[in-house]
Structures are given as structure tokens and as C-alpha cells.
């Protein structure tokens, strides 16, 4: 009996070792393929997310709700200060509302005069945020809308007010939104009123950095930052946020969208940039940068 057992263990050990070696090999090959031909493996990843994440939803909903209640409860402790703050803001808002109404009237009149038709291509579809990226190093969320809702890679996602990010990773029923705060996010923006263009660079911090600003003396903290539409990445004139100066003297953007409470996102179904299917499209600028200039 004991003899037979050691015998079988003699067989099992090398086979096990072989199995482990093969598994590690397969995983590393997968990683290398991802590095060489990222779009294909990313499509596989999206397919897996498409299958798995909606199944998690029933379990995640109650936990999320509980956590939110706890967090709301903590905020009750500051309710008096918040009330005061809100009153002050309300006063300011009334003035703004008045101004906005007048501008809206004026705008409507001008549009009427010019007989302008707004671009009917810019429709939107609203999705619910299913999950976070789940890692402190990646800033993205997964939405419950996907290809079947007519989304494409690269479309802009907004919350009610400001730009949030772009679609990057598209499944049948889910899609990943790469947020403006992600390390790899780059968005061409215009700083109003001076009209200076720059690149908004995500750095995993809550406030992305303004880079490649031509004449820094023309902009000031408090300026509005909107998308420029350069390179066909996004439609122009989507609100991004407000310029602020960080302690190091760099210009960063306080985002208009509320990144703490991303619950519903609006994906603009407009003109999507050309999808990158093959690796060489990234290097071949003829289609993208050429047409933008």
C-alpha cells in the first residue's frame, strides 16, 4: 500500500512540474502576444468582461448601496457647514441663472436669424456605471451599454456637465470608459477665452495636467477648458473643467464632471475617430493627423 503510494507520487511529481511549466509558459506567451498585438488580446479581454461582469451585478448592487449609505451617514456630520455653503452657492447661482436665461434667449434669436441647423449626428445614449477599474493604477469604469447600442471605440463620454473620458474597449453589452484621469489619457483642449490649445494629460491624480501650452502668460487660473476637436479625437467645445494652478506652479484642470459619483454616463454617438484595428495604423498618420491639419 505504502509502496504503491510512493510509486504514484513518483509519477505525479514530474507531471505536475510539467503542468506548472506549461501553464506559466502559456500565460507568458499570452502576455507577449498582448504586448505585440494588443488590439486582438484586448478584444479577448472585452469579451471576457462582457461575459463575466454583468453576472457580478446582482451581488455588487447591495454592497455598493450599503457602502454609499455609510458614506452618506458620515457626511451628515458636516451637514451644518454644508447647508451654509449651499446657501452661499445658491445666491451666486441665482445670478448665473439670470445671465444664462438671457443668453439662451439671445442665442435662440441669433440661431433663428442665421437659420442654423444643429448637427443631428450628435445623439447620445446613457449608460449605468457597472464597475470601477478595480485598480489604483487604472482609471476607467465599465458601462452597461455596448456595441448593440451603436457605440464605437473612441466616442466621448460625459456626465451631465463635463467630459469624463472616451470609450476604449467595446463589448456586445458592456464598454470600458478610459477616464481623463488615467495615466494614458491625452486629450487636445482649448483654453477659453484666450483660445490657447494644449494637451490634457492624465496622471492618475484627480486633476489632470495641462501640457504643451504655447504661451503660458495668456492663460490664468479660472479659465474654462473645453475640448478643441483637434485630430478628430472628440467633438469640439465639450466642457472639460476649470484651469487651476497647483502648488508647483503647473496648470492643472479641476474637472467639471463629478468623478466621485460617476453613476450615469452619456456617450455621444457622433463622429467617432477611425478605429485602430491593426498595429501599423498607430504609426501611419495619414488617416488621422493628416486630415486633422
Amino acid at each position: 500500500m505504502a509502496n504503491g503510494r510512493t510509486n504514484s507520487e513518483d509519477y505525479i511529481q514530474p507531471i505536475r512540474r510539467l503542468l506548472v511549466g506549461m501553464l506559466v509558459f502559456v500565460l507568458i506567451v499570452l502576455f507577449l502576444i498582448w504586448r505585440i498585438d494588443s488590439p486582438r488580446v484586448e478584444r479577448f479581454r472585452v469579451a471576457v468582461i462582457d461575459r463575466v461582469v454583468p453576472n457580478f451585478e446582482w451581488a455588487m448592487a447591495p454592497v455598493t448601496a450599503t457602502m454609499k449609505i455609510v458614506r452618506d451617514f458620515q457626511s451628515y456630520q458636516r451637514i451644518y457647514e454644508q447647508n451654509q455653503e449651499l446657501r452661499r452657492e445658491l445666491q451666486q447661482m441665482k445670478a448665473w441663472k439670470e445671465a444664462a436665461l438671457q443668453l439662451e434667449l439671445k442665442n435662440a434669436r441669433l440661431l433663428d436669424l442665421n437659420n442654423v441647423r444643429l448637427d443631428p449626428e450628435l445623439t447620445y445614449v446613457t449608460g449605468v456605471v457597472l464597475t470601477d477599474s478595480g485598480s489604483p493604477f487604472r482609471k476607467s469604469v465599465i458601462l452597461n451599454v455596448g456595441q448593440r447600442d451603436g457605440l464605437q471605440e473612441g466616442l466621448a463620454a460625459m456626465d451631465g456637465i463635463g467630459l469624463v473620458g472616451r470609450i476604449s474597449g467595446l463589448g456586445q453589452e458592456t464598454s470600458r470608459v478610459l477616464l481623463l484621469t488615467d495615466n494614458s489619457s491625452r486629450v487636445p483642449v482649448t483654453i477659453q477665452p484666450s483660445g490657447q490649445t494644449a494637451i490634457l494629460t492624465g496622471n492618475n491624480a484627480p486633476t489632470p495636467v495641462i501640457e504643451f501650452l504655447d504661451k503660458a502668460e495668456l492663460v490664468r487660473a479660472g479659465d474654462r477648458v473645453v475640448t478643441s476637436g483637434d485630430g478628430g479625437v472628440f467633438p469640439p467645445d465639450l466642457l472639460v473643467g476649470q484651469l487651476i494652478e497647483d502648488p508647483n506652479g503647473r496648470y492643472v484642470v479641476r474637472l467639471a464632471a463629478d468623478f466621485e459619483r460617476l453613476a450615469f454616463l452619456r456617450v455621444l454617438r457622433g463622429v467617432a475617430p477611425r478605429p485602430i484595428d491593426e498595429r501599423h495604423d498607430v504609426i501611419n498618420f495619414n488617416g488621422t493627423a493628416g486630415s486633422g491639419g
Binding site: 470601477d132 478595480g134 489604483p136 495615466n183 492618475n204
Partner: protein
């Protein structure tokens, strides 16, 4: 219950997979962008190492590989690399499980921490050699620290709640109770 029957082992394998899914779910909860910034230990790695040193049969290689790859895919990491490193470290710890038991927990903790440090380092080196965007060092160090600090908690909880202990301890414990 007999703690070595086939059914029990399979049950514990299911428990391992379920726990990994729960940890994964916690990573994915949509709670806003700042909540996961400060503190994000790799709980699946901790759980795997704790179980593999004590009861290796509860966490078979294929299951570890599958969960780690799923985590890679869902958490938007480079697919495969972290899973491969997790697998290698778990094999290393698995082969030293009995020796670590006799050396005591502090020594086990040191060894596991060193292992985790090595795979964090290898991960970072491989990613930077292949020009993948590496995350900032500070947050990686936080993640490493949190994973190492939570390792005793994970071992204690799985020992108390799920009876994942070194094999002799579990057997004598069972006899005393019986």
C-alpha cells in the same frame, strides 16, 4: 466532518474560487475614483499564498492560474504576466509549506513577504523593459505594504473561520474536539 475526504477537498476548492471572486468584486465596486486609491492590497495573492502553504490541495495549480488570469483581465492589468508570477510564487511556497510550518509563523511571513517583493520587482522590471506604462512607484509600494501587512490577517481568518491550518494541527484539533 472528515477533513481529508474528496468531497471536503472539492468543497474547499469551491470556497477558494468563491472567495477570490468576492475579492475581485470588492475591487470592482463602483464607489468613486478616490476610494481605491490609497489602499488596494492584492488580496487574491495573499489568500493563495496562505492556503497553498497550509493545505496545498485546496488551491490546485489550474484553479490558481484561472483566477489570476481572470483578475488580470478584469482589473485591466497586462494579461498573463501577473498571473504567471502569482503561479510561480505559489509553487515556490507550496514546495516549502512543511518546512515553513516547523520554522514558525514569523519566518513564514518574512519568506512570503520576500517572495511578494520579488514578484513585484520582476513585474515592474518586465513591464518597463517592454515599455508598458508602469504605475507610479509610491502607489505600488503602498500596494505591496498593504498586501504584506494583511497576510497575517488572511491566514488568521482562514485558520479560524475555514480551518485552513497546517495538516497535523488540524488533525489533532479535530481529535480534541471529537
Amino acid at each position: 466532518m472528515d477533513r481529508s475526504t474528496n468531497a471536503y477537498v472539492w468543497m474547499m476548492r469551491v470556497v477558494y474560487a468563491a472567495l477570490s471572486c468576492v475579492f475581485l468584486m470588492f475591487h470592482l465596486l463602483p464607489l468613486g475614483q478616490s476610494s481605491n486609491l490609497a489602499f488596494a492590497p492584492d488580496l487574491i495573492l495573499g489568500l493563495t499564498l496562505a492556503w497553498v502553504s497550509r493545505r496545498p490541495e485546496f488551491a490546485p495549480v489550474l484553479l490558481i492560474a484561472a483566477t489570476a488570469l481572470l483578475a488580470d483581465l478584469l482589473l485591466a492589468r497586462a494579461p498573463g504576466l501577473w498571473a504567471a508570477l502569482t503561479l510561480l510564487l505559489s509553487e515556490y511556497i507550496r514546495n516549502r509549506g512543511q518546512r515553513m510550518k516547523s520554522a514558525g509563523f514569523i519566518w513564514e511571513w518574512v519568506r512570503v513577504s520576500a517572495g511578494i517583493a520579488v514578484i513585484f520587482l520582476v513585474n515592474r522590471i518586465v513591464l518597463s523593459v517592454l515599455f508598458v506604462n508602469v504605475p507610479p512607484l509610491a502607489s505600488v509600494l503602498t500596494q505591496f505594504g498593504a498586501t504584506v501587512l494583511l497576510y497575517p490577517v488572511i491566514t488568521a481568518l482562514s485558520a479560524v473561520l475555514l480551518r485552513v491550518r497546517y495538516i497535523e494541527a488540524a488533525e489533532t484539533g479535530g481529535r480534541v474536539r471529537a
